[in-house]
Amino acid sequence: MLKGYRKYFFNKLGWFLVTLVFAFILNFILPRLMPGDPVAAIVARMAQGMSDATGVRAIYQQYTELFGTNKPMVEQFFIYMRNVLRGDFGYSISMYPRTVADAIKSSIGWTIALQFPAIITGWLIGNTLGALAAYLKKGFDKVLMPISIFASNFPAFGMAVILMVIFGVTLEWFPTSGGYGFDLIPRFDWRFIWSVITHYQLPFWSIVLVSIGGQAIGMRSMAIYELNADYVKYARFMGIKDRKIIGYVFRNAMLPQITGLAMALGTMAGGALVAEIVFSYPGIGYTLLNGVMGQDYPLISASTLMITIMVLIANFTIEILYGFIDPRIKAVQAD
């Protein structure tokens, strides 16, 4: 048993590492394949109004040198790899002279604080409702299903804008933009904390509401499928207690949902974009978008590398957990 699990574990770990290496290489190469020249954008900011060709060229050369964009791609890759291993992601091009590390650090806290509770809440509520619908059926199901389908088909920005218009602009219950009051300076007092809380509501619920529907639908179909499975009928014939059967059913129905949760957590940074833009919420999604717009290779590579690693870790953890939750998977994979 344990030997089988070890084999399963190392197999997964091996694949994890292989994927990581390829992801690392792609993270480096893909942004750099975009047409255009990011250094030209920096020079643009400096050279406006400059009428001297040699002066512009000198500045251009200085920055291509600094960002290494004049070197062959392979050489750039090895420099990048060496720096990343040292934990140095270098200067951001679009926010020069800010470093990539600084740009990510100052925004990622907001994103995690917004997304993590929102994803977990949406997932829990959604699955609970889905399971309830499958089990209780009748009126509950008939009401929940259409609502879920309706809500889950809302594009995220649509939901965000609707919430903003209703609760922010019309009712004025909540502020419409920013991470805290426009007139505040961060410090540890009630006013500031309260401001953070009120600014948190609209982006938070815009994420939660959109995710509930999809989760509920998924959970409902899985649960209905399992409830009608032969093993359930067989268990009933055997006279096994309902509670025990429900235990089996939901454990099986949960599997795909757990994968979904892991993916949602892994792609947190990218998923944050819509809520962050609509509500001017400080966060990594918007930082990344700006990086892409400004062809900020170091920033894009660092952010995508971070997302990749998060997804891989989430995936890896799930696969390892699967081994425990569902022995069939382990058995198949270990053979």
Binding site: M34, P35, G36, D37, A40, A41, V43, R45, M46, G49, M50, S51, D52, A53, T54, G55, V56, R57, I59, Y60, Q62, Y96, P97, R98, D102, A103, S106, A113, P117, I120, L132, Y135, T176, S177, G178, G179, F182, D183, L184, I185, P186, R187, F188, D189, R191, F192, W194, V196, I197, Y200, F204, I246, E276, I277, F279, S280, P282, Y286, M293, Q295
Partner: protein, 648 residues
């Protein structure tokens, strides 16, 4: 039975899951815990060494805030804070006035209408009357008899934030530093300025570069230098040089939190969501030789909005006092919603146009080397639709201000002979005229497919501008529609800005496919205008530059225009100047290397008078007139000394 239990259990899970979001629900103890933890993490995250300084500074300054009676803890008192939008679009990256990549817009690092909040220029330019008013300087500057040297003095009262006087040596050393470290200012002016010398403590001489005949190469640019370039303290510069070991890149990348400044405001707070400046109550400008008082708002605060829409919402809600962004259909804010919001002019175009967003022709594209084709497209375009849709009427029309190379300000309009070019100007929508013009040139639809051919080849073009620049995209669509009406196939394409700017500014090779008609900007108002703008739009000196951020992106060459552009800066006779400008307008409207699509203000300037009032408006009686430049730019900063509270 079980079903009921399960219901209860699931109900409990729902409740539990809601509690997991406890930081979103106001239960006191929990919140304190959660937020405190998060904040500690964030403090650690700040830039390693600088963090100590920032924190110290904030703490030290907040003490000051608490002294003020109305100041509530942690909050900026609304009655002492002027809020902005549209100037700062990302977290500020530093406070270094030598760094040309510094995005700290509210700080101001020079330019035609310099933003003198933190750093000051010797003179301030006023776009309304075209004058340069002394700021750090004492009285007007003057040329010597040969027009090769400019002399001016610094005010005796002018002081740095550390209390030391602003000297001529500071100005000279600033210039030397720009040259030594090859900054934008240095590289951009060294062809025109030979040297800047401190004659005595207060007197400065700017020596112009001379041509082979001993005449100043460009007197206009030299005289503009005094109002567009800031003075930086010598002692601090030396400290910076020492710290960075004379390394050019390091010197420009230094965040310079310790910078010494002469202006009325300086850093109070900055993070990813806002930047706040606080007034220096020891500011030298309260001396009678300058303003005679301190600027009214104690704080200038700029929240960083993600887009125009977010900024517009904040303006409507009264969270922004001064708005420098494009607010679509701004008149609705007062007409439909009755908000106390206003613009410089009460009626369209609401502001004073200063720059000319323009469509350039790629003169090497097939058929676009023909003046008839260029003119036909240009006169067929429906400009009123562009102005109504893309600009929501925040631009003068071409009936109100006929096209030339001048912006709509009275000063520039007076610089050419309107009657002499009347026959060449057009206001658009002239479909029949365009068709007749093409027919006369023999450019007709010969194969019956509905599109015209030139020498047997169909005329088909791509019109382009950057993706997401919605007002420009709307304008380009109207240009394409005009082509279809006159039998020229124009389609649109919108590459990302990062690609677009690289292609368009590469003037050392012909433009690639897909860039037949493309949009770019022109210079706004400034002491070298309209000459500077005309040079940007028509001079062939830009053709051949690998990175051309000046103009003439369609690569137009006309020796007579070059000659005139070269001669104007040295010309002092007003009548002659008018003649020369008129000739340039004539050439431009005849050859049509590019055509202006709309007028755009120097800054969008809308104010919400919920808290503050007495902002500059047309005919407000201010002398000299305060320009609508957001209370910060050029002479517009005078607004900060004039505004008053609605409820004092």
């Amino acid at each position: 039975m079980l079903r009921k239990k399960l219901m209860a259990m699931l109900g409990a899970i729902v409740v539990l899951s809601m509690m997991m979001t406890a930081c979103a629900t106001p239960t006191p103890e929990r919140i304190v815990e959660t937020v405190v933890v998060k904040e500690t993490v964030e403090t650690v995250k700040e830039v390693e060494v600088e963090v100590v300084k920032t924190v110290e500074k904030v703490v030290e300054k907040t003490v000051e805030v608490m002294v003020t009676p109305e100041a509530e803890e942690g909050a900026l008192p609304r009655n002492e804070t002027l809020y902005f939008n549209g100037q700062q679009w990302g977290a500020v990256v530093g406070w270094n006035p030598y760094s040309s990549s510094n995005n700290n817009a509210m700080m101001g690092t020079g330019g035609d209408s310099h933003r003198a909040t933190m750093f000051e220029t010797p003179y301030l330019y006023n776009m309304l009357d075209g004058q340069q008013y002394p700021l750090l300087a004492d009285g007007p500057w003057s040329w010597n008899a040969d027009m090769t040297e400019i002399t001016f003095k610094f005010k005796a009262a002018a002081k740095w934030s550390d209390g030391t006087p602003v000297t001529a040596e500071d100005f000279a050393y600033t210039w030397d530093t720009h040259l030594k470290y090859n900054t934008g200012v240095g590289a951009g002016n060294k062809e025109y300025i030979d040297d800047i010398v401190a004659v005595d403590d207060k007197t400065v001489v700017i020596k112009a570069k001379l041509d082979e005949n001993g005449k100043t190469i460009n007197p206009l640019l030299v005289s503009a230098f005094v109002s567009s370039n800031i003075v930086i303290q010598k002692a601090w510069t030396q400290k910076l040089e020492e710290r960075t070991g004379g390394d050019e890149t390091k010197l420009k990348a230094d965040p310079a939190e310790d910078v010494v400044y002469s202006g009325p405001y300086h850093k109070f707070f900055a993070d990813d969501t806002k930047v706040v400046f606080i007034r220096d109550d020891n500011y030298w400008g309260q001396d009678k030789s300058m303003w005679g008082k301190l600027p009214v708002p104690k704080y200038l605060a700029h929240v960083i909005f993600k887009d125009n829409a977010a900024g517009s919402v904040a303006l409507a809600k009264g969270e922004v006092d001064v708005s420098q962004q494009f607010n679509s259909n701004i008149q609705l804010l007062w007409e439909s919603y009755g908000l106390p919001i206003s613009t410089y002019l009460p009626e369209p175009p609401y502001g004073i146009g200063a720059s000319l967003p323009t469509a350039f022709y790629n003169l090497k594209s097939y058929g676009l080397d023909q003046i008839a084709v260029r003119k036909a497209i240009a006169i067929a375009v429906d400009y009123p639709t562009i102005i109504a849709n893309a600009m929501t009427n925040q631009s003068a029309t071409f009936d109100q201000v006929p096209r030339s190379l001048m912006n709509p300000t009275p000063g520039e309009q007076a610089m050419y002979n309107h009657d002499a070019v009347k026959d060449l100007q057009w206001a658009g929508n002239d479909i029949e005229g365009a068709k007749a013009l093409l027919d006369a040139a023999g450019i007709k639809d010969t194969d019956g497919d509905g599109w015209r051919e030139y020498n047997g080849k169909k005329l088909s073009y791509i019109a382009t501008c950057p993706n997401g620049w919605s007002d420009w995209q709307a304008a380009i669509e109207v240009v394409a529609a005009a082509g279809k009406k006159i039998g020229i196939d124009i389609t649109t394409n919108y590459p990302e800005w990062s690609v677009y700017q690289t292609v368009v500014t590469k003037s050392d090779a012909p433009l690639p496919e897909g860039y037949d008609i493309f949009m770019m900007w022109s210079a706004g108002a400034g002491p070298t205008m309209p000459w500077g703008r005309i040079r940007n739009m028509m001079s062939s000196e830009w053709v051949g530059m690998a990175s051309n951020w000046s103009g003439n992106w369609g690569q137009y060459v006309n020796p007579r225009a070059d000659e005139l552009i070269k001669a104007i800066p040295g010309e002092t006779d007003a009548a002659k100047l008018k003649e020369m400008y008129t000739e340039l307008v004539k050439i431009y409207l005849t050859d049509i290397p590019s055509f202006t699509l709309m007028y755009r203000p120097q800054s969008f300037h809308a104010v919400n008078e919920t808290v503050w009032t007495n902002f500059p408006h047309q005919d407000d009686g201010s002398k000299p007139p305060v320009p609508p430049l957001d209370c910060t730019d050029g002479w517009g900063i005078a607004c900060l000394y004039n505004i008053t509270l609605v409820n004092p």
